[in-house]
Symmetry: C2
Subunit: 322 residues, 2 copies
Amino acid sequence: MSLIDLSKQVALGIDIGGTNTKFGVVNHRGEVLEKGNLRTDEYEKVEDFIDALYEQVKPLIEKYGTETNFDGIGVGAPNANYYKGTIEQAPNLPWKGLVPFSELMNAKFNLPCTITNDANAAALGEMLFGAARGMKDFIMITLGTGVGSGIISNGSLIYGHDGFAGELGHTIVKPGGRKHWSTGSEGSLEAYASATGIAITAKKMRAEFPESMLSQYPEESINSKTVHECALKGDLIAIEVFRYTGQKLGEALANFVMFSSPEAILLFGGVIKAGDFILKPAKLHMERNLLPIFRNKVKLVFSELDEADAAILGASALVWEK
Amino acid sequence: MSLIDLSKQVALGIDIGGTNTKFGVVNHRGEVLEKGNLRTDEYEKVEDFIDALYEQVKPLIEKYGTETNFDGIGVGAPNANYYKGTIEQAPNLPWKGLVPFSELMNAKFNLPCTITNDANAAALGEMLFGAARGMKDFIMITLGTGVGSGIISNGSLIYGHDGFAGELGHTIVKPGGRKHWSTGSEGSLEAYASATGIAITAKKMRAEFPESMLSQYPEESINSKTVHECALKGDLIAIEVFRYTGQKLGEALANFVMFSSPEAILLFGGVIKAGDFILKPAKLHMERNLLPIFRNKVKLVFSELDEADAAILGASALVWEK
């Protein structure tokens, strides 16, 4: 039997978040065959984390036959460096400094391990299995607690000189604007368009306009979900919170388009639940700030991947993209 | 004789500007063996322009032996589309609408003709023959009458989905800022960092601070050259004109770095004659707006190519980059 049975080729996709780590066995069709998870924050030492992960994954490796059926392991993690296989100074992870993650995984699993940042992994997932199938030039923007991005140009991820390209959440959309709670930069996209940024905008607007329905919620419960509830009920202030967010996002997107001229921009993450409340002003302000040659060309679309699986699919896609 | 003598392989590089067109025969070492030029604006019909060009180039083709010694023709032109071989709606050229330039050239010269915008050509020239030799990730910014750009990522030009990627001069650095004289956009990099933008800033500052040496010049002679003269004599207002320009440039560069994480940013064009007056504030504000992981990594350098030859070299580089 020298023929390769593609349906039996699988990869392990791992998505490492600050609190939880999700993993899954994925096949070439982008089907998640098995899933599991463990707490990230329970392991102060990365070696202990990898040991615990191995214990959980081993039965899956055995179930899917010999380890040779596994093409490899793909990992999406914050501050991951594709070139070096390291996780570097990740503020939300328990492991500090420079972690040689790929090397440690390789030693434990005896399988090739490729690593990249979570938004890059999501972009690959969309290209192989999601809304960007068949596209060679697109930008993925993840709008969650933070704002991440993955840029595909001519069919490949842009990693840049040092592996850290694609930090679009930290580009400045309003010089001298809102100070970022963590980086200290002023006026970054993340300061406005992340869930964290939306909560800040909403709290400010609520203080300024006490007639808003937002005033009926306790301060600490103000987040993009409660703003969405109020917007759905027609609260003009809640709608304005999203309009302003969409404007800042759209202005940033125009700049991104004039950089790499993508076929589409894919939006992903919890914030996009606000739907047209954000999408319409984003589209308006993107188009308004574009040179005429770019106008009405770039699709602005939501991710098609199931959010629970997307990160795992994206990480596994890393194995086959190489 | 089946061996290919590389020293005999040459390409024709053509740089089409609004007023003049320069061309040259270039060898693999980046030596311009022959040069020539003709007026662009004297030919209302593109076919007449190509005929006139052919008449001038024909003797060179004959001099360098049979036409087979020519690997091809590379053209840098405003609003040129690499994928389609067209020049589209170029505001500064006499030929309006959509010009199938490569096709027309090919028919006349019987040589493959590749075309791209002038800043992309300059970036290729730097990669093959200039300050970016050996680099795989860098951004070229041309600071002339306008602001152009060429982005090299992983050793290749970023063309984007439609061939128009890399319009960084039109990215917005100050939302709601200075209105662009031609595009109408508000707060673009070109509105501040081009020679045209610098003249606007200088005229404003001169009106506001009549004690400046700039007041000794007639209004119409205020340009980046006269500002430079005053700055060299220590005029604080002239120095401030460049500082402000450098700040806007630096803020824009920070965003570009967080997009594609280049090894270097190359600056080229008439404006860089202002040297440190612009470079130092640009560097300061670039670093200040970068995420820590990008700081003190990106070289900010001036082009090494002779300005008179750079455009021709860049255009010829297009032939060998394919």
